[in-house]
């Protein structure tokens, strides 16, 4: 029983990481209709940036903050340099460009920092809470808390501020947003910036757990895709719930179903996605476009 509770907690922590990356995907999708295949690699580079800054003597917390800010700028730059110029082209072209970016960034990281693993310290102290049979690491609680906080901040931004409303309007109906005076490209740029910052967060949170290396985000992004698909790609709540669900189920399956090797854990994702989508084709929380004919 205690093992179960611990597993669930660990699952929630992994899930929170998947959720933050899924949120990043949902952001770029919501604002521009594009899934950023390179989101994971960008997150990986954000984590490497923290490592590099620390190697140059900057302490962990400031390095983390700098990395997140730089990532925001990088996301905005990505929108301006690649996404916006291709806004008249087919979605397939943009996706292919992002796949190219994925390959390029992966190779770049390997070149700059080699493929050997590095250690990135955790943002949280190595300690445990609780005692006896039920003890949970501070890191686990910390990750969940950080992501929860970010979620609250985002909710606040989107549901109560004028900027958030403008962003939602620009994402929903860009032509009409233009006609009320909203600077639509700026809104989309901010959306991509936020997405990159969220990705950076997920990279920085996961690196201490799996060791920093150029391929560390591959598993995470696959689960993030699964989470976003499960929750509905255009739903913030969905991305988070999806992420947590995927994390918990992944952990439980890994522990309690012995013949699932590490390779086949991904089948769990497959079953989850297809199962849910056959019942709810827009994801658990995806909003069906309401259209009166």
């Amino acid at each position: 029983m205690m093992l179960l509770a611990n597993q669930i907690m660990d699952g929630l922590a992994d899930g929170a990481i998947y959720a933050s990356l899924a949120l990043a995907l949902a952001f770029s999708y919501r604002s521009t209709g594009i899934v950023n295949f390179a989101q994971g690699e960008m997150a990986m580079l954000s984590a490497y940036l923290v490592w590099q800054l620390m190697a140059w003597g900057i302490p962990l917390i400031p390095a983390t903050i700098i990395s997140i800010v730089v990532s925001f700028a990088a996301g905005a730059l990505l929108y301006v340099a690649l996404v916006r110029p291709l806004s008249q082209s087919s979605v397939l072209t943009v996706v292919s460009v992002l796949i190219g970016l994925y390959l390029a960034l992966n190779s770049l990281a390997g070149f700059l920092w080699t493929y050997s693993i590095k250690a990135l310290p955790s943002l949280f102290p190595k300690a445990h809470l609780g005692g006896g049979a039920f003890s949970v690491s501070v890191e686990t609680v910390g990750i969940i808390a950080v992501v929860a906080l970010v979620l609250v901040l985002l909710y606040f931004l989107f549901e109560t501020t004028k900027l958030g409303l403008a962003m939602r309007g620009a994402a929903s109906t860009p032509d009409s947003a233009e006609l009320v005076g909203v600077p639509v490209p700026m809104m989309l740029l901010i959306g991509w910036g936020i997405a990159a910052a969220l990705g950076a967060l997920s990279g920085i949170l996961v690196a201490p757990r799996v060791f920093l290396n150029p391929t560390m985000m591959f598993g995470v992004i696959i689960y993030a895709f699964a989470a976003a698909t499960l929750g509905g790609f255009d739903s913030i709540v969905g991305a988070v719930v999806g992420g947590l669900l995927v994390g918990v189920i992944e952990n439980l399956v890994g522990t309690y179903v012995p013949w699932i090797g590490p390779d086949l854990k991904i089948v769990v994702a497959l079953v989850l996605i297809f199962g849910t989508l056959l019942i709810k084709p827009d994801g658990l929380f995806g909003r069906k476009k309401v259209a009166r004919l």
Binding site: G33, V91, G100, L101, S107, L108, F233, G261, I266, I273
Partner: protein, 354 residues
């Protein structure tokens, strides 16, 4: 009835062009260029076959598939297992691979195609990841991580070596499948496909049975992938699970886009891109090959967003028009060639998420 302007080259020009192409394909590639490149060109042909499948289902059918490698794997392993474990004649395995791929495409397509756009892409993506894992798991049957050694089929003709033989075999099959694809994409069937792709509501009202059509298209594209896989196993002589991973699906997808998603001829241009650019990139610098390939891909698409095939096609039409090499026809049906005009057909992958 509408007036269709089709390029019609004077007979002399047609002969010259066909002679050049034939010369290139039938003589220069197999006999003139360095021999080690011949099997690479054979691979290009095979990738081209697979990419034609993607053109069918994504370009014309409107369904994004990132799981093509799964069906390529099916074809390859069918050939591998039948020849290695059951001693089959390798050529006999090709139709079996085709049939199995077609059938599994049909079975998988039916539930999968109820998903729209993005969600279908995600679903097929996970398929790409699952297949290598499954291949490794059931290693008793598939040879696991070690893979299976298929060997290269021996050339039955004394004046062709093994790689030249397999090249010609691939060429013939690619040509046949190309013609088949053109046949599929003509007339009423094409209009139904494009209608279903661009406006589901209208198509349904007009009696197009979209689910069945979509599944049939998906099955057909899987067949193409399976045949490609089968040939691929013979060219490389060896199959292993990690060849057929997500990277392969993404490469084929990217190749389809670079070639022009609705251009069948462009499929082979895309195939050349994904075969040779990585090779060229590692020649430049092995450790940065991914960077070079990625950047090349990005710049190519920034320059030519609708793909090389489409641009080449437009250039061809425009040049012919300027030179007066056209044929004005009254046309009840829009026939095969005029269709490769991507402007009319490529419209609908808009940002509204398909």
């Amino acid at each position: 009835m509408s007036i269709v302007v089709r390029p019609k080259l004077p007979l002399a020009v047609q002969v010259v062009i066909k002679a050049c192409v034939a010369g290139l394909l039938l003589y220069v590639v197999p006999f003139v260029i360095p021999n080690y490149l011949v099997s690479q060109f054979a691979t290009v042909l095979v990738f081209g076959i697979a990419i034609m499948g993607i053109d069918l289902v994504t370009g014309f059918g409107g369904a994004i598939t990132l799981g093509h490698a799964a069906f390529v794997a099916l074809g390859s392993y069918t050939t591998a297992i039948l020849t290695v474990r059951y001693g089959w004649n390798p050529y006999a395995t090709i139709p079996v691979a085709a049939a199995l791929s077609w059938a599994s495409g049909w079975c998988l397509g039916f539930p999968a195609l109820r998903l729209q756009g993005l969600y279908l892409a995600m679903g097929t993506l996970v398929l790409s990841i699952t297949v290598p894992a499954l291949l490794k798991r059931f290693d008793g049957f598939t040879g696991g991580v070690q893979g299976l050694n298929v060997g290269n089929p021996e050339s039955p003709l004394p004046w062709l070596d093994d790689s030249q033989w397999i090249y010609f075999l691939s060429l013939v099959i690619a040509a046949v499948l190309y013609v088949v694809a053109r046949r599929i994409l003509s007339g009423a069937l094409l209009r139904s496909l494009v209608a279903a792709r661009d406006n589901q509501l209208v198509a349904a009202v007009m009696g197009v049975n979209r689910p069945r059509l979509a599944t049939a298209t998906f099955a057909m594209s899987s067949l193409y992938a399976g045949v490609a896989g089968s040939l691929y196993a013979m060219i490389v002589g060896f199959v292993s699970p990690d060849t057929f991973n997500l990277m392969l699906s993404l490469s084929l997808f990217v190749g389809a886009v670079v070639g022009g998603i609705t251009s069948l001829r462009g499929a082979f241009i895309g195939a050349m891109f994904i075969q040779f650019v990585p090779v060229w990139a590692s020649d430049i610098d092995v450790s940065l090959s991914g960077l070079v390939f990625g950047c090349t891909l990005i710049f190519t698409l920034l320059l030519i967003p609708s793909g090389i095939g489409g641009v080449a096609e437009r250039f061809y039409h425009r040049t012919c028009a300027r030179l007066g090499w056209v044929d004005r026809m009254r046309s009840r049906r829009v026939a095969g060639e005029a269709l490769e005009d991507p402007e009319g057909l490529q419209r609908n992958f808009s940002k509204s998420g398909g």
